[in-house]
């Protein structure tokens, strides 16, 4: 499939997630198109992370999902590919946090998270280290550092770089700017913009978004497990809706979930 704007990548209809003893997400319906950068916002505990995990397909029992969820398979441009021929996958998901139990260096983590997509064709970690996106996030000098010795921001950069280096059509980032200082936050947003320009579709769960009005194409507002808005016009900052979302005013429907 060729990369062209206007193709539907993510499709949700009456999508719900259940976990004993209640529904975490109820009746979500939304769509996302190629090249769109979507900000997923909402108060704490509104179900942002759960939605991203559900989209990534990593929810294990006792989590249960129902309804329709479609993620289209498509080829993304090769700008970030470098020399590696990575297997194409539907989604790449970068979790909110990740704690290693093993003692390992950054180099090994990169190899571990990328080599699996490579179907073991190359055994040399250098190939992955040369990926341009790793360079953008300044991972080079950290390669021989143990993960346990990294600062929060450095670890976040390594994880983001690995997640974004994967050859996926849809990227799901769970609060990617936590721990990042202004400089790296800027890098993050420019990398995301480049990915979108190639036709990737990105969903970013966010807490801080007041300075992103022009960068985000679409806003999904989540409260109490329900999507409060998702269909407004592309590129329009829904200031009033966001205000209501966080103040909890006028969101009667949210109470249904309670």
């Amino acid at each position: 499939m060729s990369v062209s704007s206007g193709q539907r990548r993510v499709f949700l209809r009456r999508f719900s997630v259940w976990r004993q003893p209640r529904w975490i997400l109820t009746d979500l319906s939304a769509e996302l198109y190629a090249g769109e950068l979507c900000a997923l916002v909402g108060p704490n505990g509104s179900g942002k992370s759960t939605l991203l995990r559900a989209l990534a397909g990593v929810l294990q029992p006792p989590w249960q999902v129902s309804g329709e969820l479609e993620i289209a398979f498509f080829e993304r441009g090769a700008v970030f590919q470098g020399a590696v021929e990575l297997e194409m996958r539907k989604v790449s998901w970068v979790a909110q946090s990740l704690t290693p139990t093993d003692e390992m260096t950054v180099r090994e983590f990169i190899w571990l998270s990328l080599a699996h997509s490579n179907k073991g064709r190359t055994k040399s970690p250098e190939v992955f280290e040369a990926l341009p996106v790793l360079e953008r996030f300044g991972v080079g000098p950290l390669l021989d550092t143990l993960i346990s010795d990294l600062s929060g921001g450095q670890w976040q950069r390594v994880r983001l770089a690995c997640g974004l280096a994967l050859r996926a059509g849809v990227f799901l980032l769970d609060e990617p700017d936590t721990y990042l200082d202004e400089r790296w936050r800027e890098v993050l947003w420019s990398v995301l913009a480049d990915l979108c320009a190639q036709g990737a579709c990105i969903i970013v769960a966010l807490h801080r978004f007041d300075d992103l009005q022009t960068r985000v194409d679409r806003w999904w507002g989540l409260a109490g497990g329900q999507l409060m808005f998702s269909h407004q016009e592309l590129g329009v900052y829904p200031g009033a809706l966001l205000e209501r979302l966080f103040l909890g005013k006028g969101l009667d429907s949210a109470k249904r979930v309670g």
């Binding site: 990534a56 990593v58 294990q60 996958r89 704690t99 180099r107 571990l112 390669l143």
Partner: protein, 327 residues
């Protein structure tokens, strides 16, 4: 290799005369091989069993730690070994024909009961741990293991009471972990299981390592979590049962060796070698511990578990202290 040769050479009775007899033609090789009581052969059994058991236990320890995302996991700590031991002794008591000593001629029966025992323990650990881990955190695994071990050892005490004084000493040494060679039959039955188990974990290591970051991370990187879990649990069950049959309930290897490997070979250069090094280190360690147990207090043979504990405890203490400092 060196230690293996050393282990063949030394023991309460020196086999040098046997070698001389063999080499000078006084004794026939064929006779020697078919003679079950030969000192050298018993030692060979010792060497093979200690190496393979060490390999399998360290591989199992590493796999469990990755699988449960828990640095405390190990077949001994969580009670798999105790489960197997109890099951074997229960079989011996229930079928008095076996009870004269640990009669390894009825080996397959004991093996099966050991496997059942470790299976029950594994299920118990899984069920209990899954439920308590959210409330009490990773350390709860040690707690669950402690409780399981306590129950099993209480059960063992009850069984001890039913044993004849003759077999009691042997059985007690065995529960502490001691390699008791009972002929080539034992080797043929157990060593391949141990070896294949260790190998299987080495092959699965990449997926298991992804798993060590958590189930969701692994599954988002293309690991079939359910299948990996099932495979690993079956191998774990077989391996810990085989290890118990070979060396009794020998502890600490699955805890010590993986942590040691991690400490020694954390650099990226060792990336692919690490699971192999882990296994080899495990085999070597138990071999040396076994050698010590047979020579240091000669002619008395102390259970090998005594030495693994003696070596391991200080090191693990150091690991814990270092973790504390970093945190």
């Amino acid at each position: 290799m060196f230690f293996a040769l050393l282990a063949l050479m030394f023991g309460p009775a020196t086999p040098l005369n046997v070698w001389f007899e063999l080499l000078s033609g006084k004794r026939n090789w064929l006779d020697f091989l078919s003679d079950n009581s030969s000192v050298l052969k018993l030692r060979l059994v010792h060497v093979i069993l200690s190496i393979t058991t060490g390999m399998a236990l360290s591989a199992a320890g590493r796999a469990m730690q990755q699988l449960m995302q828990n640095p405390l996991a190990d077949p001994h700590v969580v009670g798999l070994s105790a489960g197997s031991t109890s099951a074997v002794l229960l079989t011996i008591v229930l079928f008095p024909a076996y009870s004269a000593t640990l009669l390894w001629d009825v080996f397959p029966a004991l093996w099966i009961s050991a496997a059942l025992g470790s299976f029950i323990a594994l299920i118990l650990v899984q069920v209990v741990f899954q439920r308590v881990v959210r409330r009490w955190g990773v350390a709860s695994l040690a707690l669950v293991g402690l409780l399981l071990n306590a129950s099993f050892s209480a059960f063992l005490m009850l069984i001890f009471a039913r044993l004849s004084p003759d077999s009691l000493a042997e059985v007690q040494a065995w529960t502490l972990g001691s390699i008791q060679p009972h002929g080539l039959f034992q080797v043929v039955l157990i060593a391949p299981v141990l070896l294949l188990g260790a190998l299987a974990f080495v092959v699965l290591d990449k997926e298991l390592k992804l798993m060590s970051f958590g189930v969701e991370f692994a599954s988002s990187h293309g690991v079939n979590v359910r299948r990996l879990r099932q495979k690993s649990l079956v191998i774990l069950m077989l391996v810990s049962a085989a290890a118990v049959c070979a060396a009794g309930s020998v502890g600490f290897i699955g805890l010590l060796i993986p942590h040691l490997t991690r400490r020694l070979f954390f650099r990226s250069a060792w990336l692919w070698a690490r699971p192999w090094l882990n296994v080899l280190l495990g085999g070597g360690f138990l071999l040396i511990a076994d050698l010590c147990s047979r020579t240091l207090t000669s002619p008395l043979e102390l259970p090998v578990g005594v030495y693994t504990a003696l070596f391991s405890a200080p090191f693990l203490m150091a690991v814990l202290l270092r973790k504390e400092r970093v945190a």
